[in-house]
Symmetry: C2
Subunit: 312 residues, 2 copies
């Protein structure tokens, strides 16, 4: 008898959903809108309805479903209790119990979306083969997830792996979104790279292709690949802060590998050339051999990791 | 039938040993010398012999022993494999299997000593009631152990919690023992506090009781308690670096509590007054509520944690 599992990744505007076989084979994926009005009260009923519809469509019986895994943006502890998820309108309640009731007692496991995505990358993505890894997401912000001995490290309130706000620069004068100054996110996110680029261009008059058109993490790394010297100096700064920050992370959890994803990672392995020298300079010797890998699952990491949660 | 467990803490000069009941009641503790000659080949046979002797002495049967837990100074992975322990003369081998064979198949579990001591503090010391905590040892160096969801976080090679070499100061000119510059250990260990004190006394001519006699972490904090202004400035620097370093740790593992032990912690809760303001300044908001507690088990933390390992 084939067994199935659903992986659900709740975002602020859409819910990504996947139907998997127990070996991780993705059979189907689809999206539904996230209805955040009225404290997000419709979100879980919508998810339950969509799961039931998919079961009917595919002729899958209740007994053949192992369970439903869920990632959601917010602090979620190891028991599935969310502690206020602003983007969804949610307060404090137990996701596992709530969704399980809507699905006739089906097994449900929920976790923080970044942590769940990290588990997905370990299972079927760039972290395959590692049991101790750190997933780093370089997007609008810097997020992350820690996998310890094959399992998600949630921490006290699900904020394990929230590495974007590690302090890496004493001399910073601008504030981060979190109100502190000198957070990793201010230098290593897509937004942070643009900020570094603008500063660099303002403080020198050196020629650069970046002086024409809109600056983004992509245009910076495209310029790096084309040999633009100013872009290379910006990448050097990015690598300095990220390497130093990840060295601190290694000093805490001693991972076998870092798996780097998010928009900035689309530049490819060229980013490692800038990160690794600084990582190696700052890391304690026991962490020096950690591998650097690119994430592979993109936006599907969340549904993969969610599915994996109920298979463990 | 009462069940028993042995907790063993191997140090560079002595092996501490404890006989516990399964509920954690310590029945007896004793020490044997650590014989490190010939690659430390006698250490585990000595431990096995001492355990068998104690069983005879107490009239305890083999069937009443749940197992033996061991902490040892070195990188030890989750399977009990040590990857070179310089202080003991050990190379690479499986401690669990080796000692189990010497004890007629008894269950053995080994881990890094700092991590094992952290587990001890969670079980019967300053970390009671917490499942996610970080033990910080401020001794000659700065060590630590991470407890995640009630279990030791070993990391790739058992170096999880080796937080002493997190980089916290860019402007440092002297090298740490690890050869990097600006490591947490250079400011927050007993040795580091003496270094900070000597610098501070050299750069000012302000009166201080510290100008007479030998400087140690103890004399510095005794002077703080007596209201010595120079000592308070030194404590402020200590608190700045440790608070900032622990904020980075919180950004990775999001603990419920920090449990501070080692010689420096003998100064008592006064150290928290200097650590907490900087911790709160640098930590991400999700980590702001972490508690600060003093370790309670002193040198017995290792045998308690070792015993706890085989009870899980």
């Amino acid at each position: 008898m084939r067994k199935y599992v659903f992986g659900v990744d709740i975002g602020g505007t859409t819910v990504k959903m996947g139907l998997f076989e127990a070996d991780g084979n993705l059979l189907d994926k689809w999206e539904i809108p996230t209805r955040t009005e009225n404290g997000g009260e419709a979100i879980l009923p919508d998810v339950a309805g969509s799961i039931q519809k998919k079961m009917e469509e595919k002729g899958i019986e209740r007994a053949d479903i192992i369970g439903v895994g869920i990632g959601a943006p917010g602090p979620i502890d190891g028991d599935g209790v969310v502690h206020v998820a602003v983007n969804l309108g949610w307060g404090v309640f137990n996701i596992n119990e709530t969704l399980s009731k809507l699905l006739d007692g089906m097994q449900v496991k929920a976790g923080n979306d970044a942590n769940v995505a990290a588990l997905g990358e370990m299972w079927k993505g760039g972290g395959q083969g590692y049991k101790n890894m750190v997933a780093v997401t370089l997007g609008t912000g810097v997020g992350g997830g820690i996998i310890n001995n094959g399992e998600i490290l949630s921490g006290a309130v699900g904020a394990g792996g929230e590495i974007g706000h590690i302090h890496v620069e004493d001399a910073e004068t601008e504030s981060c979104n979190c109100k502190n100054k000198g957070c990793l996110e201010q230098y290593a996110s897509a937004t942070g790279i643009v900020r570094l680029a603008k500063r660099k261009l303002a403080e020198s008059s050196e020629e650069s292709v970046l002086r024409k058109g809109k600056i983004s993490a992509k245009t910076v790394f495209d310029a790096v690949k084309a040999g633009d010297q100013v872009a290379c100096q910006i990448a050097e700064q990015f690598g300095y802060y990220l390497g130093k920050g990840l060295a601190a992370v290694a000093g805490v959890v001693n991972p076998e590998a870092f798996v780097i994803g998010g928009g900035v990672s689309k530049a490819g392995e060229v980013i490692f050339k800038y990160i690794k020298p600084y990582y190696e300079e700052y890391v304690f010797h026991a962490g020096r051999d950690a591998e650097f890998k690119l994430a592979m699952l993109g936006n599907d990491a969340g549904i993969y990791g969610a599915a994996k949660m109920v298979l463990d």
